[in-house]
């Protein structure tokens, strides 16, 4: 069964994604990392769907893709606004939200 390989790939992608989200300063890269995470999840879902032989996982994956598309749209819009206002998209310079 190829399940292990899929899961392994997914785990690697997930870790890269997490690393990207935590360590990168560039907002666009962070967004891309989030995409990686989401897609790693998708691979997981598909893998299990194949194994279980039903369509639940596929449906869910499709749903995740749709949400991810929306999320990227909003995220990029925010980055764009950020750039317009600050001439920079470095995330560590953004700390207005500090409580």
């Amino acid at each position: 069964m190829l399940l292990n390989q899929f899961l392994f790939l997914s785990a690697i992608l997930f870790c890269i994604g997490v690393y990207g989200v935590i360590a990168r300063k560039n907002a666009v890269l962070v967004l891309m990392s989030i995409e990686l995470i989401l897609n790693s999840v998708n691979i997981n879902l598909l893998a299990f769907a194949m194994r279980n032989g039903n369509a639940d996982g596929h449906t869910f994956a499709l749903y995740v893709i749709a949400v991810a598309a929306a999320e990227v749209g909003v995220g990029l819009a925010m980055v764009l606004l950020m750039y317009r206002n600050r001439r920079s998209i470095a995330l560590d310079e953004l700390s207005e939200m500090r409580g």
């Binding site: 997490v18 935590i22 360590a23 990168r24 300063k25 962070v30 995330l91 953004l94 700390s95």
Partner: protein, 764 residues
Amino acid sequence: MVVAASETTEVVLESGWFLENAWLIPVVPAVAFVLIIFFGKRMPRKGAEFGIASMVGALVLSAMAGMQWIGRVNAVSEYTHVPPVVRTWTWWQNGGVHFGIGQHVDGLSVVVLLVVAFISTLVQIYSVEYLHGDRRYTHFFGALTLFSAGMLNMVVAENMIQLILGWEIMGLCSFLLIGHWWEDSANSRAALKAFFTTRTGDVGLLAGTSLLFFAANDWTQKTLGVSGFSIRGLSAWALSGEGSTTAITVGAIALFIACIGKSGQFPLHTWLPDAMAGPTPVSSLLHSSTMVVAGVFLVARLYPVFFEGMDIYGSGLNLIVLIGGVTIIIAAALAFVQDDIKKVLAYSTVSQLGYMMMGLGAGAWLPAVFHIFTHAFFKACLFLGAGSISHSASHHSFDMKKDMGGLRKHMPVTFATWVVSTLALMGVFPFSGFFSKDEIIDNVGHAGYTAFMWVGLTGAFMTAAYMTRATYLTFFGEPRGAAAGVHHGDHHGDHHGDAGHGPRESGPLITIPLVILATLAIGSGLLNAVPFGHSWENFKKWVEPRAEVVSATGIASVVGGPGESRLAAGGEEGKEGKHSSPCGSEKPEGGVCPAPYVKHAEFKWSKAAVSLVLVFAGMIASWFLCVQLYGRRAGPLVGLTSRNGAARAGHRFLVNKYYLDHVYENVIVRTLAGPVARAAYWFNQRVIDAAVNGVGTTAKRIAGWVYKNIDQRLVDGAVNASGAGAQGAGRALQPVQSGKVSQYGALLFGAAAVGGLVLVIINT
């Protein structure tokens, strides 16, 4: 127009277009009011033409209705009940019951309609000249016309709600007109006082109407098929002997409180003299001849309720007689110390209204209503005369001592009309006041209220005395101040352009109304000249409702369309000879009573002579006093008040109006508007509000109040405690919220990893 008989008709009554459409009478001025407000300023005469035209229209309609009413009454025998012409339309509904608006026209309505329309017409004509050039000329006519609409509506009202509508519109117009020159804060304060005082009395009107409605509604719906607001329903119910005595009594007292306020009876009379701040035509129309009789009218209109509720004839004393009697004396005494001619007249009005009330309270229904009728003419004439003096002779001053005196030579017409009206007011034979006032006094005595007959006679003496004083000060003696041509600060100069003349007669628009009114002050008494025999008692025949048992359907079916005035036979047998009726004294059998049976005193010259002698005594005594006090420089009576302590105290007591105003304004109003309102607000801000705002500060501030506010504090404490808890937790976690997205991410994944671990551990 004679209407075809229907199956229950036993007596066919005449009716007519004007009677059936009497509801149009208030509608005409109401429409005129709208026209004045929207188009008045663009008209050549600034809206006055609408007002006068509408009043003439209302007068014509009233007169025609009056003629048809007389025809209706004359068509039947003297003791047959003449049903009112009633029409209703649905006005509102509630709880499935429909309440109407419409008309209830009978002798009383017709008389008052005529008086109001007539006086209003004359006053509006007079105002054209009197207020010429005033900066709010159009508004003035608007308010005056709306007032007439309100009063006429009250007079034709079919039910209590409609009556209240008219009643309150009058109050509003009174407010607007008294405060007409509102730039001066004294005027606007007087307006406020008038509205506020009558409004205080209106609590009684609202409460009394509610009470009577619920007490009577079941009976009236069942027996007559009309609501417990309707005037004929309430009347029949009160006389049916089936209503609760307590309800009738309390209802009558509550309504009477409203009448006290509106008709300036003691102890709520204080607003009326202050209301003289308004322009003189307003004083003449509203505060002497029409609006202030609204209270008297209400008592006369719902007479069965008051008759039963106050137990008239039942004892030697009741609330109405008492208030009326006290008012006569109290107000007449005050009239002696006034320097302002309008205030003399105002107190005189209060006193005369006391006569009417006393008459009604003693069962002298007809003389009291007749007094409304005659009083309207001579009092309006006196006021307009005072206005004429101030307009043309005294530079808008009303101060008799400073600015008048000796005016009879300059103003012959004003003087002549004034004297005629004064004699009528005093009740000198054969002027109109004699026929009404003397009848009141006579009938009060006849009904067993002997003490109040003497009150009435004393009042007649005092009336003669203070009117002589006013006449002397105004028209006799040496001219003083403005009357002598002296100019002084003229604070109303902005609305007149004729300062600088000496005293002279006023123009025809002023004198013609005066002459007409004076003529009526002589002649109107002859309508019910009791001394000349039974055939002269026309007013009684036309106006007094006949106390007769009629079938319930007879009253109820009157509601129908035009001309369906039907009557069922009930007490036909008592037609001839000495008439007697069970109405008012016992439970009517086989039907209902529309009105109580009232007694009439037989006229005797010997009794009239007593009052005439007293009147002449008052005139003569007062004349000599005046000559002593004001005519000569040094007499034994001059300066009496400064030499004699008792006289001084009495004088000061009167000048201060028995300190009633002091009590009302400084004690009651100031307490409510000042400390009490502030205390309530303080309570609001410091207790309720603070309790919400912060539990910490509140705890300190209202520590002493805790037990009273446990509820507040429990609820609020919980709210604030949860708030505080959340705040504390938030502060503890604050450093975590660095604002750095990557840190958040790390936290998120860390937490997720921990969560994942936990899951793994649990599941293995």
